[in-house]
Symmetry: C2
Subunit: 442 residues, 2 copies
């Protein structure tokens, strides 16, 4: 049965309206979930360990007499790593090493403290420090992604976070050895087999057993996302992700099967995932469409892929590659493939994207696992104002100011003038006192 993927052309008179329809995705707020999550958070805050144990029993079917029993010893993580088939173990170690190397470069580029002095001796600076303790949420069950463990824990480690606490639900005690092995490779400090809103609450407020963290990152279901939004402010959180997206900009020089498979690889995540092709060559679009039809029946996840392509996908014919770049900037996609023989020609035109994959050999899936850059990326157009998860998410900055006696005289007059202008007399007087009196003889 033919795949009913939307085909658009920028020259069509109703293009803008149709295009808006493709882009439209609204996160629905489920009030029942919000309400339930608020109750769980309040309960964990009040009853601590006992509440977390209750919910873990109820939602995960996991019995324990104390929360301490749900902590996995480091030896068990190492055993999971040692027990993996050799190819999986090596792949995991290799991926972690590449992700680590990339984030070390990022640390050098973005994490520098600095200071400088004025002529009068006044010092100004910025001190960059890692967070003390971070919590990483890792989903259990079918959406258990060991690669997510690496992508969250490695940048935290590179930033110098003091302690990384991971939570991962293990429904009925089922543990995913790849996930535990990834925790060992990434250097996670403590692991608790709890999940859901109760795990987020435990990390945000702390319990007798679970240490309170400063920030919580990592993906989760609607309950986890709602809980993270609730505790934001008490702790830091990473972004709340929408459905995953790929945009392929193609000039018609890449094998059509490759592009088709890249569209599939986004579509297979879930039915709301979005795969879009932008191309100025109608003949090439037809060849990609043909490859989609031919390859889809071979895919184990073909039902999800079809639903995603038919519901949210699009093949869009543009006037030119330049126009395709403009449209890409309007979308601000999470993943942007520039499938062209001249990717360096188009890259400078691309202003908004989570990650840009250049050239035919750079499949988005290489970035998901092992190229090095982070796979946690801004979705739903938020790449216009936000960034991939990175070392900078696990650091914070403090300003440093040390004003000399001479500096206080000069700056004091400026500050006092502006403070009086704002009607804040104590601000003004605090500055003036440093001009009127010396420190001597205190």
């Amino acid at each position: 049965m033919s795949v009913q993927i939307r085909q658009l052309a920028t020259t069509a008179p109703d293009f803008d309206r149709e295009f808006q329809r493709v882009l439209h995705w609204a996160a629905e707020t489920d009030h029942a979930i919000e309400q339930r999550v608020a109750e769980i958070l309040a309960d964990v805050r009040a009853r601590g360990d006992a509440a977390v144990l209750d919910y873990t029993r109820r939602f995960d079917g996991l019995e324990a007499s104390s929360l301490a029993q749900l902590e996995l010893p480091r030896a068990e993580l190492q055993a999971a790593l040692d027990g993996l088939p050799a190819d999986q173990r090596e792949a995991l170690v290799h991926a972690a090493e590449r992700v680590r190397r990339y984030h070390e470069r990022q640390l050098e580029a973005c994490g520098r403290s600095f200071s400088y002095r004025d002529d009068d001796g006044t010092l100004l600076g910025q001190k960059v420090t890692p967070l003390d303790r971070v919590g990483i949420y890792v989903p259990g069950g079918k959406a258990a992604y060991p690669s997510s463990v690496l992508m969250n824990a490695v940048p935290a480690k590179v930033a110098g976070v003091g302690e990384i606490v991971m939570v991962v639900p293990t429904p009925r005690g089922e543990k995913n050895p790849l996930v535990l092995a990834a925790a060992a490779v990434a250097g996670v400090d403590r692991v608790f087999t709890i999940g859901g809103a109760q795990a987020v609450a435990a990390l945000a407020y702390g319990t007798a057993t679970i240490p309170k963290v400063d920030k919580i990152t990592g993906p989760g279901n609607a309950y986890v996302a709602s809980a993270k939004k609730h505790v934001f402010g008490v702790v830091g959180i990473d972004m709340i992700a929408g459905p995953s997206e790929i945009l392929v900009l193609a000039d018609g020089t890449t094998r059509p099967e490759w592009v088709a498979m890249d569209l599939f690889s986004q579509a297979e995540h879930d039915e709301l995932a979005q795969s879009i092709l932008l191309c100025p060559d109608a003949h090439y679009i037809a060849r990609v469409k043909e490859a989609i039809e031919r390859l889809l029946p071979q895919m184990p996840r073909r039902d999800v892929i079809r639903a995603s392509l038919e519901g949210r996908g699009a093949l869009i014919l543009t006037r030119s590659m330049e126009e395709a770049c403009e449209i890409s900037n309007r979308i601000a996609p999470e993943h942007l493939e520039v499938s062209s023989r001249e990717p360096g020609r188009w890259e400078p035109l691309l202003k908004h994207a989570g990650a840009i994959f250049l050239g035919a050999y750079t499949s988005e899936s290489l970035g998901d696992y092992c190229a090095g850059p982070n796979h946690v990326l801004p979705t739903s157009g938020t790449a216009r104002f936000s960034s991939p998860l990175g070392v900078y998410d696990f650091q914070k900055r403090s300003s440093l100011i040390e004003v000399s006696a001479a500096g206080a005289r000069q700056l004091g007059r400026v500050a006092a003038t502006l403070a009086y202008g704002e009607g804040l007399q104590a601000h003004a007087r605090a500055a003036e006192l440093r001009i009127e009196d010396g420190q001597e003889g205190v």
Copy 2:
């Protein structure tokens, strides 16, 4: 009448409980405001200009026949600057120049793109780009702070933001010349005299007249804060600030009047502001207390200062400066003064603070106006995980990946192994196709 400021000592048996009581501050959610704001946002989204005009008429008592009439021409901003008394004009220009210089250093330290190549030619990198368009909210009326215009607009400008759109309500048409002059000095591109939730909505969604922005920063009342929370995700926002706080770590070598005035300068903001002194010298604390009593009656804002000091202030006797530093880290204050002859001895022990003011001459008020670093700082303990407003808030990052044919062979095996392990076959196949087939002869 004596000031009833709380006095604590870390040696007291009930210190921890008393200390928690001092720190406790809970932002109350006002459901009536939330509901009203949601309605205004929906209305502006649906009716655009007309809705903004209606609310501006109703809430600000400002009549106009079109929204375009509420845009202030650049010449009017320049005229406001030219019309200021010379001392105010010079203070404003001098402050802006220092803030600009500091944020230029910050840009060098944190805003670098980078790239590197593997041995097989694979390129990895990160491109840092400014936001296209930013909205700055500036409160009108009594809390109109020209210094806030500088602190929000200058870092955006230094980051290279394409267009800065400022909104400032002018109740009954009353314009604050210092605020308009600050906009001229900071290089704000467009100014609209609208405010409240309707202004936030107009910036987030765009209307026929108000351009849609990518991020909204700047302080506001409860309606503005609620509106910013609502539109977060559609656009970026800066932090939602709690009451302002100062913590003074004193070793007893600073004139007590200076410390008293620094505590006042925070307390005068509003009754919920918090001023705390930590000091190991009981005699010195008594001298500061005496200075408080003596100086308070002279202050025009003495009623607000007294209410703040009595409601949320504290003078805390510690065992040592080391213990004072530990307690400071537990508080993670917005403003932290190290009022000591040896500030460099204590600074390395201080892990969490928005801004650190070193030495007796560095009054917090110098930092508020003109030292250079930003005065928009994390409050309510959020300095544990967040940072001052800075150039980095007006930039975003995109990862760059360009895998060579040789790189695709090596990385493809790793990615495919991990993708099969996660049950994502299209991801695996996308990587494998690049190993099986060459690009040649497409």
